[in-house]
């Protein structure tokens, strides 16, 4: 195998295609009923005919495997079993179908953790959350579904076995799956949406097991919370005293002023757009990796640095105007006044002109007056 990063192309293109949010998870009701009736019959038959001889042949190994899995599960902190090539063959390839358990496998690659667009870390965290919640909800007595992860560098042949060539990838291997590549089901990219809840929905719809509520760890632990409450309680009389005296920061209009101007700067620079769309501050030029792109041509998109630069231009003019009309008039020295004003005029003129030019460059903005036709 060559360089792993090349053999694992990212899902970036697939991510951008929003797929229908609920269609996959809703089971067809009519079909399900028929299936249920049908399958009970089948199961009875199967059970009676096969159990005799299946049980005899694998009687020793099946509970053994489950017990092994349970110990492995209890050994790991979050309940996610770490698989490698050996254990994959032990629990999946060499174990006879139908196996008494399903696997939900998270395919991981440590060398790709720093690629932020793949969100492997976050996904992994959500996955462990799902696992621990599942185990907690079933009081450790569950033997139907096990959560596992495989690391790419350790077990490359297993990746081949599953036919996994891109990450992120989560796969459910049902009890009856013979070929790991074809019979198992991959969790849909759109369904995952990086949250444990949607993963739980996937599991519930495929395995008919209930996952139960996800136990997210609180942002603050109980101790921290208690400490904060105690601090607040101690602090509150002082605050109350200050408020009654009218001496808090809130009474300082300068803070409100700078706050308001900052909110204005923040909004007109399109920072909200950058946060919601997770835009980077700048891009690297594709043709010349040493060059950075700060300004993006085309409306509807902007880069972080670009937004802040223009937001600064928007804000500076108003600030200078306010400076001239409210501060500069009180200055006594005439030459200082003159110099400051000329500076303000120059900068404001430049800023307005720059914004118009940039807008023209970015969106093709161009206006014209409507003069009487006789003027031409």
């Amino acid at each position: 195998m060559s360089r792993p990063s090349q053999s694992l192309p990212s899902h970036a293109t697939l991510n951008q295609n929003p797929s229908s949010p609920i269609s996959e998870t809703k089971p067809k009701k009519g079909k399900k009923k028929e299936m249920a009736i049908f399958s009970t019959h089948l199961f009875l038959l199967l059970f009676i005919t096969l159990s005799l001889f299946l049980v005899v042949s694998t009687a020793g190994s099946e509970p053994e495997l489950v017990a092994d899995l349970l110990t492995l599960q209890s050994e790991s902190k979050s309940g996610v079993i770490h698989l490698d090539d050996r254990t994959v063959s032990k629990f999946l390839t060499s174990a006879k179908t139908p196996r008494p358990y399903s696997f939900l496998i998270f395919f991981d690659a440590t060398q790709l953790h720093d690629k932020s667009e793949l969100h492997l870390r976050e996904l992994r965290q959500e996955f462990t959350l799902l696992a621990s919640s599942f185990i907690a909800n079933h009081n450790n007595s569950n033997t139907k579904l096990f959560f596992c992860d495989i690391e790419f560098r350790e077990s490359q042949s297993s990746f081949h076995l599953f036919g996994v060539n891109s990450l992120p990838h989560i796969r459910l291997i049902g009890p009856t799956a013979k070929s790991l590549k074809d019979d198992s089901e991959q969790m849909n990219q759109g369904d995952v949406s990086r949250l444990a809840e949607s993963m739980a929905e996937f599991v519930e719809s495929r395995t008919k097991l209930t996952v139960g509520p996800i136990h997210r760890p609180p942002i603050l632990s109980k101790k921290q919370l208690g400490l904060i409450v105690a601090l607040l309680l101690i602090w509150s009389p002082f605050v109350a005293k200050k408020i009654f005296a009218g001496e808090t920061l809130l009474h300082d209009s300068k803070i409100w002023l700078s706050g308001a101007v900052f909110v204005y700067f923040f909004s007109v620079s399109g920072a909200m757009h950058n946060i919601i769309r997770k835009m980077p501050m700048f891009l690297v030029d594709r043709n010349d990796p040493n060059k950075l792109i700060f300004f993006y041509q085309g409306s509807g998109m902007q880069l972080g640095a670009e937004g802040f630069a223009v937001g600064f231009l928007y804000t500076i003019v108003g600030l200078l105007l306010a400076f001239v009309t409210h501060v500069l008039v009180y200055v006594k020295d005439a030459t200082a006044k003159r110099a400051a004003m000329l500076f303000a005029i120059f900068v404001s003129f430049w800023a307005v002109k720059k914004v118009i030019i940039l807008d023209n460059w970015k969106t093709g903005y161009g206006i014209h007056g409507f003069w009487p036709s006789s003027w031409n």
């Binding site: 009309t325 006044k337 004003m341």
Partner: protein, 785 residues
């Protein structure tokens, strides 16, 4: 802008100036009149360039409702059950619309007709928005005048009259809620500030009524009912509580909430949803604070200190109890009482995470910086100066303006649609900034211009600005005294005069020193005028070129002249004249309002997207193969199917481009429709690489039926490819009408075939012709079986 000349602030002591003030009053009256004319006429570009016609989609619904109102009267309107839409469900109109706009236009129509001016309802509807923009600019004048004087008011009004963001929603023909709502918004704010400045119950009552009008008009009223409590809270926290604040706020909450609950579409939401809870919470707080201040007034300072612990603890207990109740109420509702749209305002990443349908609407996208330049233009440069001017000095009114601009600019950053709320605030603050800048620069020039050195001429100009400052001083001193001994209004006035006299004289002396260098102020003045001129040119350009297209009539300029595409009205007229009155027409929901309003035919779904399943059914039909689609439509009694197709003339927002949404929405309810079946390797395409499901679905067939006959190749000008399947026949639909430019195509469902013959034939043809990989049970695919 013209603060020195037009100030109407009365200075009772200076009798020599009364004439000048009267002149200023008359002048500002005429300026306002001209501003009104400007606001009205700049919005007529759509009528001049196109014609007097209602625009887009939603306005057609409003127009139809108004027609109903004028024909049948208000009671019928209130009880109107519309059976022309959402067949077979129908829709209750009276209780599900904001009636403000409709009632306003209906009243105008009725008034004109009783004056024997026989205008049609359509004409009234077309011109409602421009009329109300004139009102809005006058309201902006009043509001800004309350904050910073008449000069700033006139500037703000002039700016608002032509701010592009507002023009985009209020050109003639854009008959939508926002047209009247922005006026109502500004006027409500004006009355609030007026009450705050005067402490008069009269204005407080008017304020509640204006708020009622706002609730009637637009869902954006929640902005008011959250912003005003925020301001009240801010005043309390920063120690600006006064009895005027109480009078401005308490009646608004009580009366306003009662009145709001009268509007059927709001009803008990006015007390049940979290959007309104802030106002009740602040209502409680202001009472606690009022009590504290009252007790402080009647007790000696020592007694007060004892009492304060008692009152505060009791008040805190009450507050905590109420908050607990509120939290319990809120937590018991599934969305925590907040609608998704409001939540996405507070947490901007909320929508993109959880509600794709909200996130997908183009109006709900976060704007980038060019949007600000397009929509408020040079005001973006002036706003910071206005904010600073509001802080020097900070009064109750100016703090409200600061809060308004800060919140609205934040909201506009989250959703581009809310730029509309930002626009008035930006106009007001820039009006203040411009006016003060002009004030300073003209003053500097005036003082230093050679030849002008007389005292008499200068102090006239000085007094107005001096009074403004003096007034603010009064407000300050009054506040420090608080309401311990409430001075009667007369004594207050006397006091004010008393304060003014010395201060004006002192200020006039002082101002002489506060001049800027002559030539620099001259250049600055020139540049500011240039900036204003640029703003005017931009606004006229935006009104004429960018925001006036009615989207029902399209034009395009090419080298051989102007082309007009009037296909929509052609198609609707065809439907109106050639189909039976009770026939049902199916189309994607975008065209529902127009079909009911212009063709007067019953539709299955329309732009009021209240029933997702119904929309999904139509989406499923459009994305199913012909036979399944025919069955769905037949089960809905549909006679005609209408599709919009832009491939011949290159009209990009046609049904093929919207088709993925039909698939998604359809698949959301009927899971046998799967989006990947329509995509080739994740790409949406209609050329020869398209999937068989795509090429066999109804939407493809209805759009491209006989398309190859136009140019022999079947080249789609929107997608810029040749289509994948060129020659095919329709078995269950027949083409009945295609408009001149093929933009609208109407098909009729063929009648069901003879039962016995049909059954044998159908089963044969099905096995032979359908190449769909999913043969299993075509019957199950019809959601209605």
């Amino acid at each position: 802008m013209a603060a020195t000349e037009t100030s109407t602030a009365t200075v009772p002591t200076l009798y020599t100036n009364t004439l000048r003030n009267a002149f200023g009053g008359v002048l500002s009256f005429f300026i306002l009149l001209l501003i009104g004319v400007l606001a009205f006429s700049i919005r007529l570009f759509s009528v001049i360039k196109y014609e007097s016609v209602i625009h887009e989609f939603d306005p057609y619904f409003n127009y139809r409702v108004t027609q109903f109102l004028t024909k049948n009267g208000i009671y019928e309107f209130w009880n109107w059950f519309d059976d022309r839409t959402w067949y077979p469900l129908g829709r209750v109109i009276g209780g599900t619309v904001y009636p403000g706009l409709t009632l306003t236009a209906g009243t105008i129509w009725w008034l004109l007709n009783s004056l024997n001016i026989p205008l049609s309802v359509e004409t009234v509807c077309v011109f409602t928005a421009p009329i109300f923009s004139a009102f809005a600019s006058w309201a902006a004048y009043l509001l800004t005048k309350e904050v910073k004087g008449a000069g700033a008011g006139l500037t703000a009004a002039a700016l608002l009259a032509m701010v592009p963001s507002y023009i985009s929603r209020s050109v003639a023909g854009s008959y939508d809620n926002e047209a009247v709502a922005i006026f109502a918004l500004i006027f409500t704010f004006y009355l609030y500030i007026k009450t705050l400045n005067t402490g008069s119950l009269f204005y407080a009552t008017l304020n509640s009524i204006a708020y009622f009008y706002m609730v009637c008009s637009w869902g954006g009223y929640t902005f008011i009912i959250n912003l005003i409590p925020m301001h009240v809270l801010l005043c309390i926290v920063t120690g600006r509580y006064s009895s005027r604040l109480y009078i401005a706020y308490a009646p608004l909450v009580v009366l306003g909430t009662l009145l709001a609950a009268l509007v059927p579409v709001v009803g008990f939401n006015a007390v049940m949803t979290s959007e309104h809870f802030a106002s009740f919470l602040v209502f409680i707080i202001i009472h606690v604070v009022a009590l504290v201040y009252y007790i402080k007034g009647i007790l000696s300072p020592k007694m007060f200190k004892v009492a304060v612990t008692l009152v505060v603890s009791a008040g805190l207990a009450v507050c905590l109890a109420m908050i607990a109740v509120l939290i319990a109420l809120v937590a018991s509702s599934p969305t925590k009482g907040w609608s998704g749209r409001s939540l996405s305002l507070l947490d901007p990443t909320y929508a993109s995470k959880y509600i794709p349908i909200i996130a997908s609407v183009s109006e709900h996208q976060p704007p980038t910086w060019p949007s600000y330049f397009m929509d408020i233009n040079v005001l973006a440069f002036l706003v910071p100066a206005g904010i600073i001017a509001c802080f020097l000095p900070l009064s109750d009114a100016s703090s409200f303006v600061v809060l308004y601009i800060a919140t609205s600019v934040y909201f506009s950053g989250v959703m581009v649609r809310l730029m509309l709320v930002l626009a008035p605030a930006a106009c007001i603050t820039s009006g203040i900034a411009l006016s003060q800048a002009f004030d300073v620069f003209t003053r500097s020039i005036k003082f230093q211009l050679p030849g002008v050195s007389s005292n008499a001429e200068v102090d006239a100009g000085e007094t107005s600005s001096a009074t403004a400052e003096a007034q603010n001083n009064v407000v300050k001193t009054e506040k420090t005294e608080t309401s311990k001994d409430r001075p009667s209004r007369k004594s207050k006035k006397k006091e004010r005069e008393h304060v003014e006299k010395p201060s004006t004289k002192a200020k006039a002396e002082k101002k002489r020193l506060l001049a800027l260098p002559l030539e620099a102020s001259f250049i600055s003045l020139l540049l500011l005028v240039l900036l204003g001129a640029f703003y005017v040119v931009h606004c006229v350009w935006a009104a004429a070129e960018a925001y006036s297209a009615p989207s029902i009539v399209l034009t395009s300029h090419s080298h051989d002249g102007l082309h007009v595409f009037d296909d929509f009205r052609e198609a609707y007229a065809w439907l109106r004249h050639n189909t039976d009155v009770d026939d049902k027409v199916a189309s994607w929901w975008d065209y529902g309002y127009q079909t009911t309003a212009m063709a007067n035919r019953t539709v299955i779904v329309d732009n009021n997207t209240w029933n997702n399943t119904h929309i999904a059914t139509v989406g499923t039909a459009m994305s199913s193969p012909e036979k399944a689609a025919w069955e769905i439509f037949h089960s809905l009694d549909v006679k005609y199917v209408l599709v919009v197709f832009g491939g011949l003339v290159g009209y990009p927002s046609d049904d093929i481009n919207k088709f993925l949404w039909m698939v998604r929405i359809g698949g959301g309810v009927f899971p046998h429709i799967k989006e990947p079946d329509y995509l080739r390797d994740g790409q949406y395409r209609i050329d020869s690489q398209a999937t068989p499901t795509m090429l066999n679905c109804l939407m493809y067939k209805l759009s491209y039926y006989r398309f190859v006959e136009t140019d022999g190749k079947g080249f789609d000008r929107v997608r810029r490819t040749e289509i994948g399947k060129k020659y095919f026949k329709l078995s269950h639909f027949e083409e009945v009408f295609t408009t001149h430019h093929w933009m609208v195509r109407i098909y009729k469902l063929k009648p069901p075939k003879n039962r016995i013959r049909g059954k044998t034939k159908k089963s044969k043809s099905k096995t032979s012709s359908t190449s769909s990989p999913r043969k299993s049970g075509t019957k199950k695919k019809n959601p209605w079986h």
